[in-house]
Amino acid sequence: MRIKAQVSMVMHLDKCIGCHTCSVTCKNTWTNRPGTEYMWFNNVETRPGVGYPREWENRDRFKGGWTLKNGKLKLRAGGALNKLANIFYNPNMANTEDFYEPWTYDFDHLIHSPKSKNLPVGRPKSMLTGKFMDKPEWGPNWDDDLAGGREIVPHDPNLQNLQEHISMELEKTFMMYLPRICEHCLNPACVASCPSGALYKRDEDGIVLVDQEACRGWRFCMSGCPYHKVYYNWNTHKAEKCNFCYPRIEAGLPTVCSETCVGRIRYIGVMLYDADKVKEAASVTDEKELYESQLSVFLNPYDPEIIEEARRQGINEQWIQGAQNSPVYKMAMEWKIALPLHPEYRTLPMVWYVPPLSPMMNHIQNEDELSTDAYIPAVDQMRIPQEYLASLLTAGDVKVIRKVLMKLTAMRVHMRGKSLGDIDAFKHSQLMKEAGLSIEEIEDMARLLAVAKYDERFVVPTGRREMKDDLHYEQGACSLEELAPPEGLLHNGKGKAPAIKFTGSAFSTL
């Protein structure tokens, strides 16, 4: 058993209001430099819809993730030799047409335009060429809030599986938001696709990063990631991706997208897992079993044997405690209400989702008179088809989705009854049985999902530094620490200032 810790996230989709605050704060933090304009480490998609980049779920086209060949786990786009043969042109890579051409407006003209008969306008200007554009035709959330429509719905790969259910009638349309970041997978396809070995998974917290010095710009990670969450910086010619705000995580803070999330839909916590089991778990034959098999690699942080072994392998008390208090562990393992996005990609993703409930509940008219068990058919006839959610979250297994929705409905019914002083009926109801949770668990769940404060939503142990040799020096040093040698800038023993050395700063483009 090789125990590793993974910092992971759950998003509670019921609460996402589609405000894009997460995307904007992320962009302001990480991707507001030339070459990164089109990158959205965090993006929010309206579903049904084609997403960003367009049709990223179309794996026949981009060939991301893993597949089983003769029972063996293989990169879908082909192995190492295949990559070397295609190194001069990557047929699977998305380009500007699939993302979009980033643009700004000629604001300067609005300010400095001379007096004229007509109102001055700020024309759109491409941020790739600096030229005026006739009109922008696509953007990262161009289909925001449209919930499909005749042009877009046919291009949502999730709908192609269940075409007969989807009706274009206005009364039956449905909509949900899907915020996405890099999944920091346990079995990352991006890492395995990189010919230079520049992508890696951090031992201590599982964050997947690109070594900017080792990256040679081969771009196989871009198409190798089935979630399309690695981007090519056309300015530095290197790959960049969501880094789970690792400087904040190391300091015990949540990511920027989580910190600023208006709906407070995001939860961050540690999961312990057995790295030796990852490959086996990703190789189960039936795609529908991938969810369960991923659960089987997680370790119980309360189990004394696991705790003992984790300590032996160098995981400290703070991280073990973090794993015990992890909101992610509660939602994924204890209550089983969080599900992985597209488990069929076999990367074992680590940003999980609680499926949305409220839109389907809206069509219950006479809730006052409704008996508890009458909610059960409501779950089965909800507005967002269970098949659609299953296509996103369980490789098409509707049973799992139904179970989760039952639990969420049970929670809703119970909490409603509680405030109305009517819980006895619920205790013995069929709904309660189908949910399979105790009253206590339901109330804990309601607390975490609805009222939990900052410290309960984000349980992030700080990064370990105690074994660094020069901690004393690093105390008070800034991120430019390498500019100043430990012996001091002015007197380095030889009486003259040392040459300034730049190394390792991830974003300088020397």
Binding site: L75, G79, A80, L81, K83, L84, I87, F88, Y89, N90, P91, M93, N95, T96, L128, T129, G130, K131, N187, P188, V191, A192, C194, P195, S196, G197, L199, Y200, K201, R202, D203, E204, Q212, E213, A214, C215, R216, G217, W218, R219, Y232, W234, T236, H237, K238, V278, Q313, G314, G463, R464, R465, M467, K468, S508, T509, L510
Partner: protein, 228 residues
């Protein structure tokens, strides 16, 4: 005297610039070391031009190794006659040369006509494509036209031994004295090209990831050896 300059001093200077430049860039400018792809901007033309050029270059390198690095006696030992060798050389080399040139021309036109690509192309980018066209153009002319219309020149007796003598540090520049001008020009422009490698996108030639098939698919790294 000029023989010493062109066939001893100039090649050594070029190679020295290349080696020192590449090492310097490796040590101090890692962040600039990449294969600066423009596939993100344009795919259709790249799809034809890039593989044509790159595979052409790979074949051409193999051909140069066969013609310049492998001594003529090796062929004789295996009983490969001059006629057989040259027939192979003209067909194989000519084919590779044409691939390179057609590929490069497509890439150059793409660089000029596609807005997104042109805007981001630097002087060095244009320089390198044009320089490659010149070197490869002379090479292809030699192989296809000179060899078939003037004379099947036996470079394995002159340029080959001279080139190898450079690496034995006993440059035998006399060998180059009677080499036809067009062959001399090809050699000199090629050395000029070598010298430009550290300053251009050609640098990615040195990062072909040959170790990739051998390594484990998943890579873990620790920030500060926390399990010490």
């Amino acid at each position: 005297m000029s023989g010493i300059f062109w066939w001893v001093i100039f090649p050594y200077i070029s190679l020295a610039i290349m080696i020192v430049g590449v090492l310097y860039r490796y040590a101090f400018r890692q962040l600039t070391w990449a294969a600066p792809s423009t596939e993100f901007f344009e795919k259709k033309w790249l799809r034809i031009g890039s593989p044509l050029f790159h595979y052409g270059i790979v074949f051409a390198i193999v051909g140069h190794v066969m013609g310049i690095l492998v001594p003529i006696n090796v062929y004789e030992y295996f009983g490969i006659t001059s006629e057989m060798y040259h027939a192979g050389g003209i067909i194989g080399g000519g084919f590779a040369g044409l691939m390179v040139i057609v590929g490069l021309v497509i890439l150059l036109i793409r660089k000029i006509t596609i807005d997104k690509v042109r805007v981001h192309a630097t002087f060095a980018d244009f320089f390198i494509v044009i320089a490659l066209i010149v070197v490869a153009g002379i090479g292809a002319y030699m192989t296809i036209i000179y060899n078939t219309t003037v004379v099947e020149y036996e470079y394995r007796a002159t340029i080959g031994p001279w080139f190898r003598s450079l690496f034995l540090f006993q440059p035998n520049y006399e060998l180059m004295k009677h080499v036809p001008f067009i062959f001399k020009l090809h050699v000199l422009t090629a050395f000029g090209l070598f010298a430009s490698i550290p300053f251009t996108r050609l640098i990615h030639f040195y990062s072909l990831p040959v170790h990739y098939p051998m390594r484990a698919p998943q890579q873990y790294r620790s920030r500060s050896n926390f399990k010490r």
